[in-house]
């Protein structure tokens, strides 16, 4: 029982808003149940790590303490990043993103990398990791890369799918022997523009070559996918089986614990 891997899930923010009828002026931090259940589906214990920063902050515990105790980190999906974090101005006010969450997740990811513990990014998590390691994003795929296929359909939400092709020879491709092409959901309007220097592309959308999966070439395990594994119905055989990806991440967490 004590042996179970303990996996951190980063929080999404519902920032304080005095116009809101309830929780007026309160900052809430949340996770989606589906992410917790996906991370726990192979026996790991997921917990949400709250941000220690913010207007009610009064502690001394920091990100390194969490990284020392937990075995791995999953950055979950959510809002856009603030373009200032990759040296751009927001092209539209509603693409300003969540600067507070960017800073929190970047600090959390850095703490886990420094501790040699694996980090896995989902959707926004892929984008955060790419930026944290020096890359940049398309602020809006449809506007800035109009030749691309649609990567989000607001009406279909998590029932919007497209093909994804693995890059041969990558770790991701090795997890799916004999498979080169899969189908994934697609719920994002931003994507990787400039790839971080030490990142490797592991999968692309064959229709427009948009980057769909990446991995860091560095000293520890940092990998991410642009889709949402937690939204896939495990019974739906028409979409990718995400279990090997989770298992690989958890194996790395187990190995880091033993090291």
């Amino acid at each position: 029982m004590q042996d179970r891997l303990k996996i951190a899930i980063s929080a999404c923010f519902f920032h304080a808003d005095d116009q809101r009828p309830i929780f007026k002026g309160k900052t809430l931090q949340y996770i989606e149940q589906s992410v917790a259940h996906w991370v726990g589906s192979q026996g790991a214990l997921p917990v949400m790590v709250p941000s220690p920063d913010g207007d009610t902050s009064r502690g001394t515990v920091n990100y390194a303490d969490y990284a020392a105790w937990l075995d791995g980190l999953v950055l979950m999906g959510g809002s856009d990043m603030w373009p200032g974090h990759y040296g751009e101005e927001p092209l539209q006010p509603h693409w300003s993103g969540d600067r507070v969450r960017d800073q929190y997740e970047t600090a959390l990811a850095r703490a886990f990398v420094a501790a040699g513990k694996p980090v896995f990014g989902v959707c926004r998590g892929l984008q955060v990791l790419n930026v944290a390691f020096g890359g940049s994003l398309w602020q809006d795929i449809a506007t800035l890369r109009p030749e691309s296929k649609a990567h989000r359909d607001a009406g279909l939400y998590d029932q919007h799918f497209h093909p994804v092709e693995f890059v041969p020879g990558t770790r991701l491709a090795q997890l799916y022997p004999g498979v080169t092409r899969v189908t994934t959901n697609s719920v994002h309007h931003q994507g990787i523009n400039r790839l971080a220097a030490d990142f490797e592309v592991e999968a692309r959308c064959p229709d427009d070559l948009m980057i769909e999966a990446v991995r860091w070439r560095g000293s520890s395990y940092v990998a991410a996918v642009q889709w949402h594994p937690e939204f896939h119905d495990p019974k739906d055989k028409s979409v990718i089986d995400d279990a090997p990806i989770l298992k690989d991440f958890l194996d790395a967490a187990r190995a880091a614990r033993a090291a």
Binding site: I22, L28, Q29, Y30, G40, G43, R58, V61
Partner: protein, 266 residues
């Protein structure tokens, strides 16, 4: 791990699409588990790490996960119950007297299972507001479904427009553990934002504080082995300049010391 910060689990508030609570529009189409940031920061102020425990119940509709709340109790050093929705009257053998008081049965079941796991593991549990009410119910007590309706002679314990800026006095019961934590203090001012309260006290519970104006129960502790304590107010809300003069630090430290003592003895 004998050294290092304590690991305190915070129970989730649960948002179900379409339920009463937050209505934040289209993106909130999923089940969410959340906490109020200040609760986490209160735990962190005691140099303990707060983590939120996702909601999983044995009869969870989503059975994809094989999570077991016992494993959280085995791994973490203590449990903090956040405030939030009402306890469902079904949880203490009543039916809701008003549709607005139907409470949150899903969260009741999740938290009862979680509390049970921590108590069986011998680890301390501390309840805030709804947490006090749920602990009382779980150990055999009942609640007033609505103070204003059922105890009209009581003072106001909630002011909808003032939210956490509503206060009243509490009196510590001499000789209790809580009173021991505040030597020389008999009365204090706390915030008050609840419309339900303890009606029948759970058999093994000791009253540690009351509202002197109406005798409403404001703090309890379970007698016997283990550490189960709770307060009806919200110690995590700190508003600069508010009239709260009841220092929450000794309460938090006491809870954390119990968690530390258990860790060191095992």
């Amino acid at each position: 791990m004998k050294t290092g910060p304590l690991l305190i689990g915070v129970s989730s508030r649960i948002y179900t699409p379409g339920s009463v609570g937050i209505n934040a529009g289209g993106i909130w189409t999923k089940n969410l588990h959340y906490l109020e940031q200040s609760v986490a920061h209160w735990v962190l102020s005691g140099h303990a790490m707060a983590v939120m425990i996702p909601a999983v119940t044995r009869d969870s509709i989503i059975t994809r996960s094989d999570l077991d709340l016992d494993d959280y109790a085995g791994t973490l050093d203590g449990l903090l119950l956040q405030g939030g929705n009402d306890v469902a009257p079904e949880s203490y053998g009543e039916t809701p007297q008003h549709p607005d008081w139907a409470g949150d049965r899903v969260r009741d079941l999740y938290e009862v299972e979680l509390i049970d796991a921590f108590v069986r593991a011998g680890k301390p549990v501390f309840g805030i507001c709804r947490g006090l009410q749920l602990l009382n119910v779980m150990f055999g007590g009942t609640l007033l479904q609505d103070i204003a309706t059922q105890r009209p002679a009581s003072r106001a314990h909630r002011d909808g427009s003032a939210f956490e800026r509503h206060y009243h006095a509490v009196e510590l019961v001499a000789g209790t553990r809580l009173a021991e934590l505040y030597p020389g203090v008999r009365r204090g001012t706390v915030n008050s934002l609840h419309h339900q309260a303890i009606k029948d006290l759970a058999p093994d519970f000791v009253i540690e504080a009351v509202c002197p104006e109406d005798g409403m129960i404001e703090a309890v502790r379970r007698s016997g082995p283990g550490y189960v304590a709770a307060v009806q107010w919200h110690p995590e809300f700190h508003i600069p300049g508010d009239p709260v003069n009841f220092d929450d630090t000794p309460m938090l430290d006491d809870f954390l010391q119990a968690a530390r003592a258990f860790r060191l003895s095992n």
